[in-house]
Symmetry: C2
Subunit: 238 residues, 2 copies
DNA sequence: CAACAAGATAAATCAGACTAATTGTGACCC
DNA sequence: GGGTCACAATTAGTCTGATTTATCTTGTTG
Protein backbone atom coordinates (compact mmCIF):
# COMPACT_ATOMS: atom_id res chain seq x y z
CA UNK A 1 0.00 0.00 0.00
CA UNK A 2 1.60 3.23 -1.13
CA UNK A 3 0.42 6.01 1.17
CA UNK A 4 -3.06 6.70 -0.05
CA UNK A 5 -4.89 8.27 2.86
CA UNK A 6 -2.93 10.18 5.42
CA UNK A 7 -3.51 9.41 9.03
CA UNK A 8 -6.88 10.80 10.22
CA UNK A 9 -4.97 12.90 12.75
CA UNK A 10 -7.75 14.48 14.69
CA UNK A 11 -11.37 15.37 14.52
CA UNK A 12 -10.73 18.54 12.61
CA UNK A 13 -9.10 16.61 9.82
CA UNK A 14 -12.12 14.37 9.40
CA UNK A 15 -14.47 17.30 9.04
CA UNK A 16 -12.07 18.91 6.59
CA UNK A 17 -11.94 15.75 4.54
CA UNK A 18 -15.68 15.29 4.56
CA UNK A 19 -16.47 18.85 3.54
CA UNK A 20 -13.69 18.96 0.97
CA UNK A 21 -14.85 15.79 -0.73
CA UNK A 22 -18.43 16.98 -0.84
CA UNK A 23 -17.40 20.26 -2.40
CA UNK A 24 -15.18 18.87 -5.14
CA UNK A 25 -17.80 16.23 -5.86
CA UNK A 26 -20.26 19.01 -6.52
CA UNK A 27 -22.64 17.86 -3.80
CA UNK A 28 -22.09 21.26 -2.24
CA UNK A 29 -22.43 23.46 -5.29
CA UNK A 30 -20.74 26.84 -5.77
CA UNK A 31 -22.82 29.62 -4.33
CA UNK A 32 -24.35 27.42 -1.69
CA UNK A 33 -23.90 28.76 1.82
CA UNK A 34 -23.15 26.91 5.01
CA UNK A 35 -23.18 28.31 8.49
CA UNK A 36 -20.73 27.31 11.15
CA UNK A 37 -23.58 26.36 13.46
CA UNK A 38 -24.87 23.98 10.87
CA UNK A 39 -21.48 22.36 10.43
CA UNK A 40 -21.09 21.97 14.19
CA UNK A 41 -24.36 20.19 14.65
CA UNK A 42 -24.18 18.20 11.45
CA UNK A 43 -20.85 16.65 12.34
CA UNK A 44 -21.36 16.74 16.09
CA UNK A 45 -18.21 18.68 16.86
CA UNK A 46 -17.41 21.84 18.71
CA UNK A 47 -17.00 25.20 17.07
CA UNK A 48 -13.23 25.27 17.29
CA UNK A 49 -12.85 22.19 15.14
CA UNK A 50 -15.37 23.29 12.54
CA UNK A 51 -13.82 26.75 12.48
CA UNK A 52 -10.39 25.32 11.84
CA UNK A 53 -11.67 23.04 9.12
CA UNK A 54 -13.42 25.94 7.42
CA UNK A 55 -10.31 28.05 7.75
CA UNK A 56 -8.23 25.50 5.90
CA UNK A 57 -10.88 25.12 3.22
CA UNK A 58 -10.79 28.88 2.84
CA UNK A 59 -7.02 28.81 2.47
CA UNK A 60 -7.48 26.31 -0.35
CA UNK A 61 -9.96 28.60 -2.07
CA UNK A 62 -12.84 26.14 -1.75
CA UNK A 63 -14.97 28.42 0.39
CA UNK A 64 -15.14 32.05 1.44
CA UNK A 65 -16.46 33.21 4.78
CA UNK A 66 -18.28 36.50 5.16
CA UNK A 67 -19.97 37.99 8.15
CA UNK A 68 -23.70 37.98 8.29
CA UNK A 69 -23.96 35.72 5.25
CA UNK A 70 -22.03 32.60 6.14
CA UNK A 71 -19.57 30.35 4.36
CA UNK A 72 -20.19 30.22 0.62
CA UNK A 73 -18.81 27.50 -1.59
CA UNK A 74 -16.55 28.96 -4.27
CA UNK A 75 -16.47 28.09 -7.97
CA UNK A 76 -13.73 25.91 -9.30
CA UNK A 77 -11.75 28.84 -10.71
CA UNK A 78 -10.63 29.93 -7.29
CA UNK A 79 -9.52 26.54 -6.03
CA UNK A 80 -5.86 25.83 -5.31
CA UNK A 81 -5.84 22.95 -7.75
CA UNK A 82 -2.25 22.12 -6.84
CA UNK A 83 -3.02 21.39 -3.24
CA UNK A 84 -2.38 17.68 -2.78
CA UNK A 85 -5.59 17.23 -0.86
CA UNK A 86 -7.69 18.85 -3.55
CA UNK A 87 -6.07 16.57 -6.11
CA UNK A 88 -6.76 13.49 -4.04
CA UNK A 89 -10.38 14.45 -3.40
CA UNK A 90 -10.93 14.89 -7.09
CA UNK A 91 -9.19 11.64 -7.96
CA UNK A 92 -11.27 9.77 -5.41
CA UNK A 93 -14.54 11.31 -6.49
CA UNK A 94 -16.69 11.66 -9.55
CA UNK A 95 -14.32 14.15 -11.11
CA UNK A 96 -11.66 11.53 -11.60
CA UNK A 97 -11.45 11.45 -15.38
CA UNK A 98 -11.29 15.20 -15.81
CA UNK A 99 -8.60 15.41 -13.18
CA UNK A 100 -6.53 12.68 -14.76
CA UNK A 101 -6.68 14.26 -18.20
CA UNK A 102 -5.75 17.67 -16.81
CA UNK A 103 -2.85 16.16 -14.97
CA UNK A 104 -1.65 14.30 -18.03
CA UNK A 105 -1.55 17.49 -20.06
CA UNK A 106 0.33 19.11 -17.24
CA UNK A 107 2.84 16.27 -17.04
CA UNK A 108 3.45 16.68 -20.75
CA UNK A 109 4.76 20.09 -19.82
CA UNK A 110 7.04 19.59 -16.92
CA UNK A 111 8.30 16.04 -17.02
CA UNK A 112 10.27 16.43 -20.28
CA UNK A 113 11.86 19.57 -18.91
CA UNK A 114 12.69 17.77 -15.70
CA UNK A 115 14.28 14.98 -17.73
CA UNK A 116 16.43 17.45 -19.62
CA UNK A 117 17.53 19.15 -16.42
CA UNK A 118 18.20 15.81 -14.78
CA UNK A 119 20.46 14.92 -17.69
CA UNK A 120 22.56 17.93 -16.75
CA UNK A 121 22.47 17.60 -12.98
CA UNK A 122 21.80 14.03 -11.80
CA UNK A 123 24.29 12.53 -9.40
CA UNK A 124 25.79 9.11 -10.09
CA UNK A 125 23.74 7.81 -7.20
CA UNK A 126 20.51 9.03 -8.75
CA UNK A 127 21.50 7.46 -12.06
CA UNK A 128 21.87 4.19 -10.21
CA UNK A 129 18.43 4.48 -8.65
CA UNK A 130 16.93 5.16 -12.07
CA UNK A 131 18.61 2.12 -13.56
CA UNK A 132 17.43 -0.07 -10.70
CA UNK A 133 13.89 1.22 -11.04
CA UNK A 134 13.87 0.40 -14.76
CA UNK A 135 15.16 -3.06 -14.01
CA UNK A 136 12.35 -3.59 -11.50
CA UNK A 137 9.83 -2.38 -14.05
CA UNK A 138 11.04 -4.98 -16.50
CA UNK A 139 10.76 -7.79 -13.96
CA UNK A 140 7.35 -6.91 -12.57
CA UNK A 141 6.06 -5.84 -15.95
CA UNK A 142 6.57 -9.29 -17.43
CA UNK A 143 5.39 -11.08 -14.30
CA UNK A 144 2.20 -9.01 -14.33
CA UNK A 145 2.51 -7.81 -10.74
CA UNK A 146 0.89 -4.40 -11.23
CA UNK A 147 1.37 -3.24 -7.66
CA UNK A 148 5.12 -3.81 -7.68
CA UNK A 149 5.30 -2.31 -11.14
CA UNK A 150 3.59 0.79 -9.77
CA UNK A 151 6.15 1.04 -7.00
CA UNK A 152 9.05 0.91 -9.44
CA UNK A 153 7.37 3.40 -11.77
CA UNK A 154 6.82 5.74 -8.85
CA UNK A 155 10.44 5.54 -7.77
CA UNK A 156 11.55 6.24 -11.33
CA UNK A 157 9.52 9.39 -11.78
CA UNK A 158 10.13 10.70 -8.29
CA UNK A 159 13.86 10.22 -8.63
CA UNK A 160 13.91 11.92 -11.98
CA UNK A 161 12.07 14.96 -10.66
CA UNK A 162 14.40 15.13 -7.68
CA UNK A 163 17.39 14.88 -9.97
CA UNK A 164 16.19 17.92 -11.88
CA UNK A 165 17.52 19.97 -8.99
CA UNK A 166 14.45 22.20 -9.13
CA UNK A 167 12.43 22.25 -5.97
CA UNK A 168 9.16 23.08 -7.68
CA UNK A 169 9.58 20.25 -10.13
CA UNK A 170 10.35 17.99 -7.22
CA UNK A 171 7.21 19.17 -5.48
CA UNK A 172 5.22 17.90 -8.45
CA UNK A 173 6.40 14.42 -7.56
CA UNK A 174 3.44 14.09 -5.25
CA UNK A 175 1.14 14.92 -8.11
CA UNK A 176 2.70 12.37 -10.42
CA UNK A 177 2.52 9.79 -7.69
CA UNK A 178 -1.19 10.41 -7.28
CA UNK A 179 -1.70 10.06 -11.01
CA UNK A 180 0.19 6.81 -11.25
CA UNK A 181 -1.51 5.34 -8.20
CA UNK A 182 -4.93 6.53 -9.31
CA UNK A 183 -4.39 5.09 -12.77
CA UNK A 184 -3.65 1.58 -11.58
CA UNK A 185 -6.00 1.48 -8.61
CA UNK A 186 -8.91 2.62 -10.70
CA UNK A 187 -8.10 0.14 -13.43
CA UNK A 188 -7.10 2.59 -16.11
CA UNK A 189 -3.97 0.55 -16.84
CA UNK A 190 -3.74 -2.25 -19.37
CA UNK A 191 -3.59 -5.59 -17.56
CA UNK A 192 0.05 -5.89 -18.54
CA UNK A 193 2.22 -2.81 -19.11
CA UNK A 194 3.23 -1.81 -22.60
CA UNK A 195 6.79 -3.06 -23.34
CA UNK A 196 7.43 0.05 -25.41
CA UNK A 197 6.77 2.20 -22.36
CA UNK A 198 9.35 0.27 -20.38
CA UNK A 199 11.85 0.63 -23.19
CA UNK A 200 11.30 4.39 -23.18
CA UNK A 201 11.96 4.52 -19.47
CA UNK A 202 15.23 2.81 -20.10
CA UNK A 203 16.09 5.28 -22.81
CA UNK A 204 15.52 8.14 -20.40
CA UNK A 205 17.64 6.53 -17.73
CA UNK A 206 20.48 5.97 -20.14
CA UNK A 207 20.27 9.48 -21.61
CA UNK A 208 20.43 10.94 -18.12
CA UNK A 209 23.49 8.90 -17.32
CA UNK A 210 25.14 9.90 -20.61
CA UNK A 211 24.30 13.59 -20.07
CA UNK A 212 22.14 13.83 -23.18
CA UNK A 213 19.34 16.29 -22.38
CA UNK A 214 17.69 16.27 -25.80
CA UNK A 215 17.26 12.51 -25.91
CA UNK A 216 16.03 12.40 -22.34
CA UNK A 217 13.47 15.09 -23.05
CA UNK A 218 12.15 13.46 -26.20
CA UNK A 219 11.87 10.02 -24.69
CA UNK A 220 10.08 11.38 -21.67
CA UNK A 221 7.67 13.20 -23.93
CA UNK A 222 6.87 9.91 -25.62
CA UNK A 223 6.32 8.26 -22.25
CA UNK A 224 3.65 10.77 -21.34
CA UNK A 225 2.08 10.51 -24.76
CA UNK A 226 1.89 6.76 -24.45
CA UNK A 227 0.40 6.94 -20.98
CA UNK A 228 -2.25 9.43 -22.07
CA UNK A 229 -3.15 7.29 -25.08
CA UNK A 230 -3.43 4.13 -22.99
CA UNK A 231 -5.61 5.94 -20.50
CA UNK A 232 -7.90 7.25 -23.20
CA UNK A 233 -8.23 3.73 -24.54
CA UNK A 234 -9.26 2.36 -21.16
CA UNK A 235 -11.74 5.19 -20.79
CA UNK A 236 -13.27 4.26 -24.11
CA UNK A 237 -13.72 0.67 -23.00
CA UNK A 238 -15.82 1.62 -19.98
CA UNK B 1 -0.82 48.42 -9.09
CA UNK B 2 -1.50 44.83 -9.94
CA UNK B 3 -2.98 43.09 -6.90
CA UNK B 4 0.05 42.53 -4.77
CA UNK B 5 -1.10 42.27 -1.17
CA UNK B 6 -4.49 40.85 -0.35
CA UNK B 7 -6.65 42.68 2.15
CA UNK B 8 -5.59 41.95 5.74
CA UNK B 9 -8.99 40.33 6.42
CA UNK B 10 -8.80 39.68 10.11
CA UNK B 11 -6.41 39.21 12.94
CA UNK B 12 -5.80 35.61 12.11
CA UNK B 13 -4.56 36.53 8.66
CA UNK B 14 -1.96 38.92 10.04
CA UNK B 15 -0.51 36.29 12.33
CA UNK B 16 -0.47 33.84 9.45
CA UNK B 17 1.36 36.30 7.26
CA UNK B 18 3.87 37.19 9.93
CA UNK B 19 4.70 33.61 10.82
CA UNK B 20 4.76 32.51 7.20
CA UNK B 21 7.20 35.23 6.19
CA UNK B 22 9.47 34.48 9.10
CA UNK B 23 9.55 30.81 8.24
CA UNK B 24 10.33 31.15 4.55
CA UNK B 25 12.91 33.80 5.37
CA UNK B 26 14.65 31.25 7.54
CA UNK B 27 14.34 33.35 10.66
CA UNK B 28 12.38 30.46 12.10
CA UNK B 29 14.60 27.58 11.08
CA UNK B 30 13.43 24.04 10.41
CA UNK B 31 13.39 21.98 13.58
CA UNK B 32 12.69 24.98 15.77
CA UNK B 33 9.61 24.53 17.93
CA UNK B 34 6.97 27.06 18.84
CA UNK B 35 4.25 26.63 21.38
CA UNK B 36 0.79 28.01 20.92
CA UNK B 37 1.06 29.87 24.21
CA UNK B 38 4.17 31.59 22.94
CA UNK B 39 2.46 32.64 19.72
CA UNK B 40 -0.53 33.98 21.66
CA UNK B 41 1.50 36.19 23.90
CA UNK B 42 4.02 37.22 21.26
CA UNK B 43 1.35 38.53 18.91
CA UNK B 44 -1.10 39.50 21.62
CA UNK B 45 -3.97 37.45 20.29
CA UNK B 46 -6.26 34.81 21.69
CA UNK B 47 -5.78 31.11 21.30
CA UNK B 48 -8.41 30.68 18.63
CA UNK B 49 -6.69 32.99 16.21
CA UNK B 50 -3.23 31.56 16.76
CA UNK B 51 -4.63 28.06 16.46
CA UNK B 52 -6.26 28.86 13.15
CA UNK B 53 -3.12 30.48 11.81
CA UNK B 54 -1.06 27.48 12.82
CA UNK B 55 -3.62 25.19 11.28
CA UNK B 56 -3.29 26.89 7.93
CA UNK B 57 0.49 26.86 8.13
CA UNK B 58 0.24 23.16 8.83
CA UNK B 59 -1.95 22.68 5.78
CA UNK B 60 0.76 24.38 3.72
CA UNK B 61 3.38 22.04 5.12
CA UNK B 62 5.35 24.82 6.80
CA UNK B 63 4.87 23.45 10.30
CA UNK B 64 3.73 20.27 12.00
CA UNK B 65 1.95 20.17 15.34
CA UNK B 66 2.46 17.30 17.75
CA UNK B 67 1.14 16.79 21.22
CA UNK B 68 3.50 17.27 24.08
CA UNK B 69 6.14 18.69 21.72
CA UNK B 70 4.67 21.78 20.17
CA UNK B 71 4.68 23.18 16.68
CA UNK B 72 7.86 22.40 14.81
CA UNK B 73 8.96 24.25 11.71
CA UNK B 74 9.29 21.88 8.76
CA UNK B 75 12.11 21.73 6.22
CA UNK B 76 11.58 23.14 2.77
CA UNK B 77 10.96 19.73 1.23
CA UNK B 78 7.53 19.46 2.77
CA UNK B 79 6.30 22.92 1.81
CA UNK B 80 3.45 23.34 -0.65
CA UNK B 81 5.62 25.45 -2.90
CA UNK B 82 2.70 26.05 -5.26
CA UNK B 83 0.61 27.78 -2.67
CA UNK B 84 0.31 31.40 -3.87
CA UNK B 85 1.05 32.72 -0.41
CA UNK B 86 4.24 30.71 -0.09
CA UNK B 87 5.36 32.01 -3.46
CA UNK B 88 4.68 35.59 -2.50
CA UNK B 89 6.44 35.27 0.84
CA UNK B 90 9.50 33.92 -0.90
CA UNK B 91 9.45 36.57 -3.59
CA UNK B 92 9.14 39.31 -1.00
CA UNK B 93 11.88 37.94 1.20
CA UNK B 94 15.54 37.04 1.01
CA UNK B 95 14.82 33.94 -1.05
CA UNK B 96 13.80 35.98 -4.05
CA UNK B 97 16.49 35.01 -6.53
CA UNK B 98 16.21 31.27 -5.90
CA UNK B 99 12.47 31.46 -6.24
CA UNK B 100 12.66 33.37 -9.50
CA UNK B 101 15.09 30.92 -11.04
CA UNK B 102 13.00 27.94 -9.96
CA UNK B 103 9.93 29.53 -11.41
CA UNK B 104 11.65 30.29 -14.68
CA UNK B 105 12.67 26.67 -15.11
CA UNK B 106 9.14 25.69 -14.33
CA UNK B 107 7.73 28.10 -16.88
CA UNK B 108 9.99 26.56 -19.47
CA UNK B 109 7.99 23.42 -18.92
CA UNK B 110 4.42 24.43 -18.97
CA UNK B 111 4.13 27.62 -20.99
CA UNK B 112 5.19 26.06 -24.31
CA UNK B 113 2.69 23.27 -23.76
CA UNK B 114 0.03 25.80 -22.93
CA UNK B 115 0.84 27.68 -26.13
CA UNK B 116 0.48 24.50 -28.17
CA UNK B 117 -2.85 23.67 -26.55
CA UNK B 118 -4.05 27.24 -26.99
CA UNK B 119 -3.28 26.97 -30.68
CA UNK B 120 -5.78 24.13 -30.80
CA UNK B 121 -8.45 25.53 -28.53
CA UNK B 122 -8.38 29.32 -28.33
CA UNK B 123 -11.61 31.14 -29.11
CA UNK B 124 -11.60 34.01 -31.62
CA UNK B 125 -12.20 36.34 -28.72
CA UNK B 126 -9.08 35.13 -26.93
CA UNK B 127 -7.09 35.54 -30.13
CA UNK B 128 -8.25 39.13 -30.22
CA UNK B 129 -7.15 39.75 -26.65
CA UNK B 130 -3.73 38.29 -27.43
CA UNK B 131 -3.31 40.54 -30.47
CA UNK B 132 -4.34 43.59 -28.47
CA UNK B 133 -1.91 42.72 -25.71
CA UNK B 134 0.95 42.40 -28.18
CA UNK B 135 0.03 45.74 -29.66
CA UNK B 136 0.12 47.33 -26.20
CA UNK B 137 3.50 45.75 -25.57
CA UNK B 138 4.86 47.34 -28.72
CA UNK B 139 3.58 50.79 -27.74
CA UNK B 140 4.70 50.78 -24.14
CA UNK B 141 7.91 48.93 -24.96
CA UNK B 142 9.12 51.70 -27.23
CA UNK B 143 7.87 54.47 -24.96
CA UNK B 144 9.71 52.86 -22.04
CA UNK B 145 6.71 52.76 -19.71
CA UNK B 146 7.67 49.60 -17.85
CA UNK B 147 4.57 49.48 -15.67
CA UNK B 148 2.16 49.54 -18.60
CA UNK B 149 4.38 47.08 -20.43
CA UNK B 150 4.06 44.77 -17.45
CA UNK B 151 0.29 45.02 -17.56
CA UNK B 152 0.18 44.08 -21.24
CA UNK B 153 2.65 41.25 -20.71
CA UNK B 154 0.54 39.94 -17.84
CA UNK B 155 -2.63 39.99 -19.91
CA UNK B 156 -0.85 38.14 -22.69
CA UNK B 157 0.39 35.27 -20.57
CA UNK B 158 -2.76 34.98 -18.52
CA UNK B 159 -4.93 34.86 -21.62
CA UNK B 160 -2.72 32.28 -23.22
CA UNK B 161 -2.90 30.01 -20.19
CA UNK B 162 -6.66 30.41 -20.04
CA UNK B 163 -6.92 29.62 -23.73
CA UNK B 164 -5.13 26.32 -23.12
CA UNK B 165 -8.42 25.03 -21.77
CA UNK B 166 -6.60 23.25 -18.98
CA UNK B 167 -7.60 24.34 -15.52
CA UNK B 168 -4.29 23.48 -13.93
CA UNK B 169 -2.37 25.45 -16.51
CA UNK B 170 -4.74 28.31 -15.93
CA UNK B 171 -4.10 28.09 -12.22
CA UNK B 172 -0.43 28.69 -12.93
CA UNK B 173 -1.40 32.11 -14.24
CA UNK B 174 -1.08 33.47 -10.75
CA UNK B 175 2.46 32.14 -10.56
CA UNK B 176 3.47 33.71 -13.85
CA UNK B 177 1.93 36.98 -12.77
CA UNK B 178 4.02 36.97 -9.62
CA UNK B 179 7.15 36.27 -11.63
CA UNK B 180 6.53 39.05 -14.11
CA UNK B 181 5.63 41.53 -11.41
CA UNK B 182 8.56 40.50 -9.23
CA UNK B 183 10.93 40.79 -12.15
CA UNK B 184 10.08 44.37 -12.99
CA UNK B 185 9.46 45.62 -9.45
CA UNK B 186 12.78 44.30 -8.27
CA UNK B 187 14.58 45.74 -11.25
CA UNK B 188 15.55 42.51 -12.93
CA UNK B 189 14.31 43.83 -16.27
CA UNK B 190 16.42 45.72 -18.81
CA UNK B 191 15.45 49.38 -18.76
CA UNK B 192 13.78 48.95 -22.12
CA UNK B 193 12.34 45.59 -23.18
CA UNK B 194 14.11 43.50 -25.79
CA UNK B 195 12.45 44.06 -29.21
CA UNK B 196 13.11 40.43 -30.08
CA UNK B 197 11.00 39.36 -27.10
CA UNK B 198 8.12 41.45 -28.34
CA UNK B 199 8.44 39.98 -31.81
CA UNK B 200 8.30 36.49 -30.32
CA UNK B 201 5.12 37.36 -28.50
CA UNK B 202 3.64 38.39 -31.77
CA UNK B 203 4.73 35.15 -33.37
CA UNK B 204 2.94 33.22 -30.66
CA UNK B 205 -0.23 35.25 -31.04
CA UNK B 206 -0.27 34.72 -34.77
CA UNK B 207 0.48 31.01 -34.51
CA UNK B 208 -2.39 30.60 -32.08
CA UNK B 209 -4.74 32.39 -34.41
CA UNK B 210 -3.54 30.28 -37.35
CA UNK B 211 -3.89 27.04 -35.37
CA UNK B 212 -0.20 26.20 -35.60
CA UNK B 213 0.74 24.44 -32.33
CA UNK B 214 4.34 23.67 -33.23
CA UNK B 215 5.22 27.26 -34.05
CA UNK B 216 3.42 28.55 -30.98
CA UNK B 217 5.27 26.13 -28.76
CA UNK B 218 8.70 26.91 -30.19
CA UNK B 219 8.24 30.66 -30.03
CA UNK B 220 7.03 30.45 -26.49
CA UNK B 221 10.03 28.38 -25.56
CA UNK B 222 12.26 31.11 -26.95
CA UNK B 223 10.38 33.72 -24.94
CA UNK B 224 11.12 31.93 -21.70
CA UNK B 225 14.73 31.37 -22.70
CA UNK B 226 15.16 35.06 -23.45
CA UNK B 227 13.55 36.07 -20.17
CA UNK B 228 15.76 33.73 -18.18
CA UNK B 229 18.87 34.97 -19.95
CA UNK B 230 17.95 38.60 -19.37
CA UNK B 231 17.31 37.90 -15.71
CA UNK B 232 20.62 36.12 -15.29
CA UNK B 233 22.34 39.11 -16.87
CA UNK B 234 20.72 41.51 -14.45
CA UNK B 235 21.68 39.26 -11.57
CA UNK B 236 25.26 39.34 -12.75
CA UNK B 237 25.27 43.13 -12.79
CA UNK B 238 24.30 43.37 -9.12
C1' DC C 1 18.98 -3.76 32.55
C1' DA C 2 14.43 -4.19 31.06
C1' DA C 3 9.77 -3.47 31.65
C1' DC C 4 6.43 -0.94 33.53
C1' DA C 5 4.08 2.84 36.11
C1' DA C 6 3.45 7.64 37.40
C1' DG C 7 3.89 12.43 36.28
C1' DA C 8 4.44 16.32 33.36
C1' DT C 9 3.59 18.76 29.15
C1' DA C 10 1.28 20.76 25.24
C1' DA C 11 -1.95 20.15 21.73
C1' DA C 12 -6.94 18.97 20.94
C1' DT C 13 -11.49 19.56 22.10
C1' DC C 14 -15.40 21.54 24.33
C1' DA C 15 -18.51 25.26 26.05
C1' DG C 16 -20.24 29.80 26.32
C1' DA C 17 -20.00 34.79 26.15
C1' DC C 18 -19.04 38.87 23.91
C1' DT C 19 -17.61 41.84 19.65
C1' DA C 20 -17.98 43.57 15.20
C1' DA C 21 -19.28 43.78 10.52
C1' DT C 22 -22.83 43.51 7.12
C1' DT C 23 -27.22 43.08 5.30
C1' DG C 24 -32.05 43.71 5.20
C1' DT C 25 -36.00 46.37 6.62
C1' DG C 26 -38.91 49.80 7.65
C1' DA C 27 -39.74 54.49 8.94
C1' DC C 28 -39.27 58.92 7.37
C1' DC C 29 -38.80 62.79 4.42
C1' DC C 30 -38.74 64.99 -0.12
C1' DG D 1 -43.19 56.90 -5.43
C1' DG D 2 -38.55 56.85 -4.59
C1' DG D 3 -34.47 57.79 -2.11
C1' DT D 4 -32.09 58.15 2.45
C1' DC D 5 -31.09 56.96 6.93
C1' DA D 6 -31.34 54.65 11.38
C1' DC D 7 -32.04 50.36 13.63
C1' DA D 8 -32.40 45.44 14.30
C1' DA D 9 -31.17 40.83 13.03
C1' DT D 10 -27.66 37.66 11.70
C1' DT D 11 -23.37 35.47 11.40
C1' DA D 12 -18.39 35.20 11.45
C1' DG D 13 -14.64 36.71 14.51
C1' DT D 14 -12.46 36.94 18.98
C1' DC D 15 -11.80 35.97 23.77
C1' DT D 16 -11.62 33.09 27.96
C1' DG D 17 -11.16 29.13 30.80
C1' DA D 18 -11.89 24.32 31.64
C1' DT D 19 -11.30 19.55 30.34
C1' DT D 20 -9.46 15.64 27.63
C1' DT D 21 -6.01 13.05 25.25
C1' DA D 22 -1.66 11.75 23.38
C1' DT D 23 3.17 11.52 24.22
C1' DC D 24 7.58 12.08 26.22
C1' DT D 25 10.36 11.85 30.55
C1' DT D 26 11.55 10.03 34.62
C1' DG D 27 11.72 6.97 38.20
C1' DT D 28 10.71 2.64 40.27
C1' DT D 29 10.69 -2.18 40.60
C1' DG D 30 11.56 -6.94 39.32
Amino acid sequence: MSASSDRPRGLHSSVLDALGSRIVAGELAPGQVLTLDRVDTEYGVSRSVSREAIRVLESMGLVAARRRVGVTVQPRETWNVFDPRVIRWRLDGADRSNQLLSLSELRMGFEPVAAALAAQRATPEQCGVLAAAVSDMVVHGTSGDLESYLDADTVFHRTLLEASGNEMLRALGGVVEEVLAGRTHHHLMPSSPNPDAIALHETVARAVRLRDPATARDAMRRIIDEAADAMREQFAEE
